[in-house]
């Protein structure tokens, strides 16, 4: 491509060429934006054929300016122009709906024409930018920017779409009382005496809110951290410091294997374990989770917070162990030996030099673990319930993830479950805020720890 350096500036016409190519670059960028709009909204499809014809014409104009020294580069350019015109014809001749007809049609042709526009205009922008910058070696590098920016934006667009969707749906239903009241759907049985006979009337106790789901999510995070942090850190330390090559190999392999086990397999084990204790026994309560309803009756759930967090910990421990091990091995051997050379014991070195050094790594592991706890879908789906009888380690598991998952099911139940069915997006938004909040906090903590214990 560097051969064309001489081709770009033509004596006497240099200014025109430059202005033309800059203008064409701008039009190409506009074409990219329009192409994205065509992909997003089928109503924009009317502009796709004219857009493609214009693109082709502009590429031909560039070709005419630089025709004097025809190189392989220019052949590509004219091929692109030809492709633009051909795809303009194609997009115009496509049926409006690709599958089915008219009212039954399901795939609009903008799916194809939008892709065609992007496929032509992105390299078109690259080419016109290259000639606008007069084909210098630097222009060769810079002309790749439209392509890179396009890929970056299309990656971000997916995230943006998810976040905009959730914020849009979530804020629409947002109400303060959701965060101050816990969800309840119970019947209070009231016993009255009439003419010497007891009569029972039931009064429904209904309350809409997600306080119990929010505190449940936090409870899961807390319990999971409390269980998996000491175990994970110990495993990491043992693997790095004390275990021989064979033992550490075995532990390494099993932690990696545990990490790669799908959560659903653990969940299946969990729901079988939960059935083991006899009804009414101590372990039944501990495994199932229990609470008392408005009538003072004991109610068992699917599984307790404690039980669920033990199982989530099985997923989190390998993460923390690995992070700890990496942190420990990032400590220069010199510093470790320097401590031992002072006659300080291995344990003291571990607690005062090695672990403080690897704290940032451990925090990262814990952060990933908490995210896992908040959204460990399979385990939560199989082990959670509505959790309306309170939030303590022995109550029934509930979390925002369960609320999001189950609201479709609740919708099918009609209005027996109150207004909560509408709050799927609100729950997703709150979960998003909790996760992002924790991540930010962990990042700040990590930076401070690194500053304090690594002197970085």
């Amino acid at each position: 491509m560097t051969d064309t350096i001489k081709a770009a500036p033509i004596p006497g016409k240099t200014n025109y060429f430059s202005i033309f190519t800059w203008a064409i670059t701008l039009i190409m960028v506009a074409a990219i934006i329009l192409g994205a709009l065509v992909l997003a909204f089928n109503s924009f499809d009317i502009c796709s054929a004219p857009l493609l014809f214009t693109t082709g014409a502009l590429l031909i104009i560039i070709f005419l300016f630089i025709k004097k020294s025809l190189k392989i580069n220019q052949y590509v350019l004219i091929a692109l122009a030809a492709a633009a015109i051909i795809s303009g014809v194609i997009s115009n001749s496509l049926p409006v709906y690709l599958q089915g007809l008219n009212i039954h049609g399901i795939i609009h042709r903008s799916v194809v024409s939008g892709l065609l526009i992007l496929g032509i205009s992105v390299p078109g922008a690259c080419y016109s930018l290259y000639y606008a910058l007069r084909g210098t070696p630097r222009a060769f590098d810079i002309s790749r920017y439209p392509l890179l920016i396009f890929f970056i934006l299309s990656a971000l667009a997916a995230y943006a779409m998810i976040i905009v969707h959730i914020i849009q749906g979530g804020t629409f239903q947002l109400h303060w009382s959701l965060f101050t009241s816990a969800f309840q759907s119970q019947s209070h049985i009231i016993e009255t005496w009439e003419n010497g006979w007891p009569s029972f009337t039931t009064v429904p106790v209904r309350q809409t809110g997600m306080l119990n789901h929010i505190t449940g999510t936090l409870m899961l995070m807390l319990l999971t951290s409390l269980i998996s942090l000491p175990v994970g850190v110990s495993v990491g330390v043992i693997v790095h410091e004390y275990a021989g090559r064979k033992l550490s190999g075995i532990i390494n392999f099993s932690t990696n294997a545990l990490r790669s086990i799908s959560g659903i397999i653990l969940a299946v084990t969990a729901i079988n374990l939960v059935r083991l204790p006899k009804l009414g026994s101590f372990w039944y309560g501990v495994f199932r989770g229990y609470g008392y309803d408005v009538n003072g009756m004991i109610q068992y759930g699917r599984s307790s917070f404690l039980f669920a967090s033990v199982f989530i910990s099985l997923l989190v421990i390998p993460i923390i162990a690995k992070a700890t091990k990496e942190g420990l091995s990032s400590l220069p051997a010199d510093i470790h030996e320097g401590s031992l050379a002072l006659g300080v014991s291995k344990d003291h070195t571990l607690f005062h030099i090695q672990l403080p050094w690897s704290l940032p790594n451990i925090v990262t592991g814990l952060m990933l673990g908490c995210a896992e706890a908040a959204g460990a879908l399979t385990i939560i789906f199989l082990l959670s319930g509505v959790g309306q009888y309170g939030v303590n380690p022995l109550n029934e598991t509930t979390s925002l993830a369960y609320l999001i998952f189950d609201s479709k099911y609740w919708q099918s139940l009609g209005d027996t479950l109150g207004d909560l069915k509408n709050y799927q997006f609100t729950a997703a938004l709150v979960l998003l805020i909790i996760t992002i909040g924790f991540t930010t906090m962990a990042l700040i903590l990590k930076r401070n720890l690194a500053k304090r214990y690594k002197g970085a």
């Binding site: 030996e337 320097g338 401590s339 006659g343 014991s345």
Partner: protein, 268 residues
Amino acid sequence: MIVNTQNTNSRFQDAVTRERKLPGGIETRDLEICYSDSKVIMGLNINFTPGKITAIIGPSGCGKTTLLRSLNRLSELTGGCKVKGQILLDGEDILKMDPMLLRQRIGMVFQKPNPFPKSIRENILYGPKALKLKIDHDAIVRSCLEKAALWNELKDRLHDSAFKLSIGQQQRLCIARTLAINPEVILLDEPASALDPLSTASLETSILAMRGEYTQIIVTHNMNEARKVSDYVAFLYMGTLVEYGETEKVFTNPERPETRDYINGKFY
């Protein structure tokens, strides 16, 4: 020099209270060090005089560092290192001592400065705090930094991270850190190899200032440094002791031709 003749039990007492000690003498008898398949040191007999500075010189790979690391049993941490023979610290076999207690008596300064990721003050107090020595913290920080010729430079920034210091200052801080637990012997493993000439000069000053108070064994590649600093020189070649004597004598009138060649830089 007075040789310490206390028994093991009172050594343990010393480790707790850390009374001021006399410089200790180290003697090796038929010392053999081998890694899994190769012998690094073969039959070494050497007597490091208490309170003096002994330089160990020799070409790369002759076992200088291995010898030094085996004197405080740090070589045990490397897998596959076997030590045969005897190393005596004040007449006591170190291979039968508790390695932790031994290392409290034999401090070490490494080739690359290795301050702990803590503040300057905490670096010095790390040893005394870990060993639970009952001493005045401020006083020990001051005296150690003064001995390492750092006090004037650092007295206003004791709470700064040790990583912010220059390489030379870091190395002298490592010396100060070693002094804080009051060892009898200090091993220096090429302490100036990473330093610029100015830092080397101040390092040498602090080494010379500690003469008489501690037995110092310094491994070096720098002939000038060995000549300037040491009282005795041991020339090691291929794991054996070729020549050992007073510095002036070894440098001006060496007994063996290999020594003369090495000192004059004609060694192949």
